[in-house]
Amino acid sequence: MTASLIGRPVKRKEDRRFITGTGHYTDDLSRPHQTHAVFVRSPHAHAKIRKIDAAPALALPGVIQVLTGEDLKADNVQGLICGWMIHSKDGSPMKAGGHPALALGKVRYVGDHVAVVIAETPAAAKDGAEAVVVDYEELPSVTSTGDAQSSSVQIHDEAPRNTVYQWALGDEKATGAAFANAAQVVELNLVNNRLIPNAMEPRAALGEYDSGSGIYTLTTTSQNPHVARLVLSAFVQIAPEHKLRVIAPDVGGGFGSKIFIYPEETVCVWAAKRVGRPVKWTAERGESFLADAHGRDHVTHGALALDKDGRVLGLRVKTTANLGAYLSTFSSAVPTYLYATLLSGQYNIPAIYAEVDAVYTNTAPVDAYRGAGRPEATYVVERLMEEAARKLKLDPAEIRRRNFIREFPHQTPVILAYDIGDYDASLKEAVKRADVSGFAQRKADAAKRDKKRGLGFSTYIEACGLAPSAAVGSLGAGVGLWESAEVRVNPTGSVEVLTGSHSHGQGHETTFAQLVADRLGISIDQVEIVHGDTDKVQFGMGTYGSRSAAVGLSAISLATDKVIAKAKHIAAYVMEVPEDDVEFKDGEFAAVKTNKKMTFGEVALAAYVGHKFPTDQIEPGLKETSFYDPKNFTFPAGCHICEVEIDPDTGVVEIVKFTAVDDFGTVINPMIVEGQVHGGIAQGIGQALLEHGVYDKESGQLLTGSYMDYCMPRADDLPSFEVGMTITACPSNPIGVKGCGEAGAIAAPAAVMNAITDALGVKEFDMPATPEKVWRALSGQRA
């Protein structure tokens, strides 16, 4: 018996090209005779466009064309869509304004797309973009979440009071009764700060059109090329689906921001036909700040009703969610079904009622960013739990234990049914690893050095493995969220696995190959993972929502089962034994009552040669596909504990220890899983301490538009992390995995802020906890 590859820290297959500089990101690719696109962007937060004069740009050397929204309209190119219908509590559908790829008559945020200049060189296109004269009539703007509904500014005619929807979930009456019977009520006002995703590779697009075949090709920085093709063909109507190929080559991080169908990519592929040459665009970082979909931006009032022993009776949440100036691809689902459905946390809460108002503002569109709704939910629940512990003078671990769900499956009052978990186990392990028992001493020691120590917990849950198609369909999703796979065995026994998942850092080429190699009993070097090209992979829903292993790899697993079944059938014929007598183990098909056996490679060859079995009864070849639709979401959960030390003189918060213990179900490659946890925590700490997308209230200008202004976590802002795992295998998919990509970003902000409020001894304190804010809070105390 060879050792299983599952659960081993196999080094990544994809690394060699990245460490030698031989990867192929979109901007690394060029085509003969390509042109370059630069976008004319709105300098105003809100303005009418009176006139666009392209003549001065067209007069410049190298400028080929200047295209506007009117040109898109003339070619019948439709606007961008939001793929998830949300209904308000009065039953009315959400109020969505139009989203043209290039503005039609009006711009609605700084960075909005006014026109595109196509030129011979990037420099000529840039000069051209500066030369286009746009006559704007400036309008007043509103950027702040809390002001959107009361503002006299109307951003879209379709949405009075800038309100997209007023949605609710849960039982209002039962929740009211829970509060009426409560011994203790804890309330908090919470702001979930706007974040700017900042994948290190800026978005890019290379559009091509072949006039002979009529086929368009878009090479772009996408997490889900098939979804991009579907939207661009069926809705935006660039080209019929079979005449549009979308390729996502190596992609340098996404974190959600590369899920969406953006104006720039749309324009490049469309313009390729207009210009008759390939059109290439690569965002400058400043453009990423302005026009990548941002994340979070919630204003929330949360209230928790408890009995005298700290058992939660009810939770009431009222949230205003900023969706920016246009509804991005999945934006409407983020503050509703990805948020309020998670408000039960790890706890047995009898009654929950959540109201969410989604608003338009004159800011960049807001959509899914690592965690998408679940970090916001965790932040509300875990800040409230910690505050409840303080108010009731209970140990923060103990109040959580008193409320943990321990019987599964567990139906929450907010749609989701948790399939499995062991919250006590992860809490216990985290408490041990964080040395919580030694905290009092460390706090006392710090006090002697005039430093303030704090400890914060976050026992989070997430719904991942997005998602069961019937479930999301009933909630308004425009697509099913299954995944496809094809396992293609070559005559020489090597294997290509085509997957609709897309890796942009997650290491699928290794993890997926581990599973297939393990199942087929072949070397991992014999397995190639193919993804990111609609011409190669039949279909796919892409990578987001921690779904690649739970859904994508499950599809691969099922397709592999089918390959083994067919190979067994062929092996039985070739060995001239009954099929029931054939056993497949460690890469060999053995006939049990004889000494006959065939290796996997020999069966693969036989399958293609076809001499030795009746090809009228068994088709030659060895290739199988699977479309896998999960039975349920998966529910990764765990406990993160943060310990901070604050210097009262400077307000600087140091994370002295960050402990994460997560239950991701079965782990295929612990090295990769831990890496995902590290990265998630870093983004969570970034949100808590450093990052904040800020617009000027008066002008609507983005104040945090570069790395000089938007504080990215750097190596010296972070500690090394203490990471552990507990495991309950997921019963809802064939491999037992739950998903690990978002956990850190979901759990960490609450843990950090609970630690900081503990250290400061304050109740309400909003992210990011910058030194200035912390110092002021302490100064207030001193005054």
Binding site: G675, D716, L718
Partner: protein
């Protein structure tokens, strides 16, 4: 157009280029060395880090003509005779990369850190990485890889 001469990854180069061409664009667009990346427009992210006469520089902060006469090493030139540099090996061994976009700049900066501070501890390594941003790894494994490579490069003798 000025003519510049330099050695890039050991090979002599002699070409004309516009005076305002940044070194990073020269490497990527003229020489096809696309391993050096552009991640920002303010000299902050470090994805474009290369070696100029053995020292790490951000190739987006200088013109190609300023590198006239210099010896440039990019990520493509770090491995010698098909053998990975110990820093490249360490990044792979310690899973110090995910999406790989910041990786070339990170590795070039890391080689220079170890050259200058062969006995750097974790804190020093973290401070030295101030000029390179990674969004994927939380730096945890990058710091481990650099410390390990420093030992492997015989620096801790």
């Amino acid at each position: 157009m000025p003519k510049i001469e330099m050695r890039v990854n050991g090979k002599p180069i002699s070409v004309e280029t516009e005076a305002e061409t940044l070194l990073v664009h020269f490497l990527r667009d003229r020489l096809g060395l696309t391993g050096t990346h552009v991640g920002c427009d303010t000299g902050q992210c470090g994805a474009c880090t290369v070696h100029l006469n053995g020292e790490a520089v951000k190739s987006c902060t200088m013109f190609a003509v300023q590198a006239h006469g210099a010896e440039i090493t990019t990520i493509e030139g770090l491995a010698k005779n098909g053998k990975l540099h110990p820093m490249q090996e360490a990044f792979r061994e310690h899973h110090a990369l995910q999406c790989g976009f910041c990786t070339p700049g990170m590795i070039m900066a890391a080689v220079d850190i170890v050259r200058r501070k062969p006995n750097a501890d974790e804190k020093t390594i973290r401070q030295e990485l101030e000029g390179n941003i990674c969004r994927c790894t939380g730096y945890h494994n990058i710091v481990k890889a650099i410390a390990s490579a420093a030992a492997g490069m015989g620096a801790r003798s």
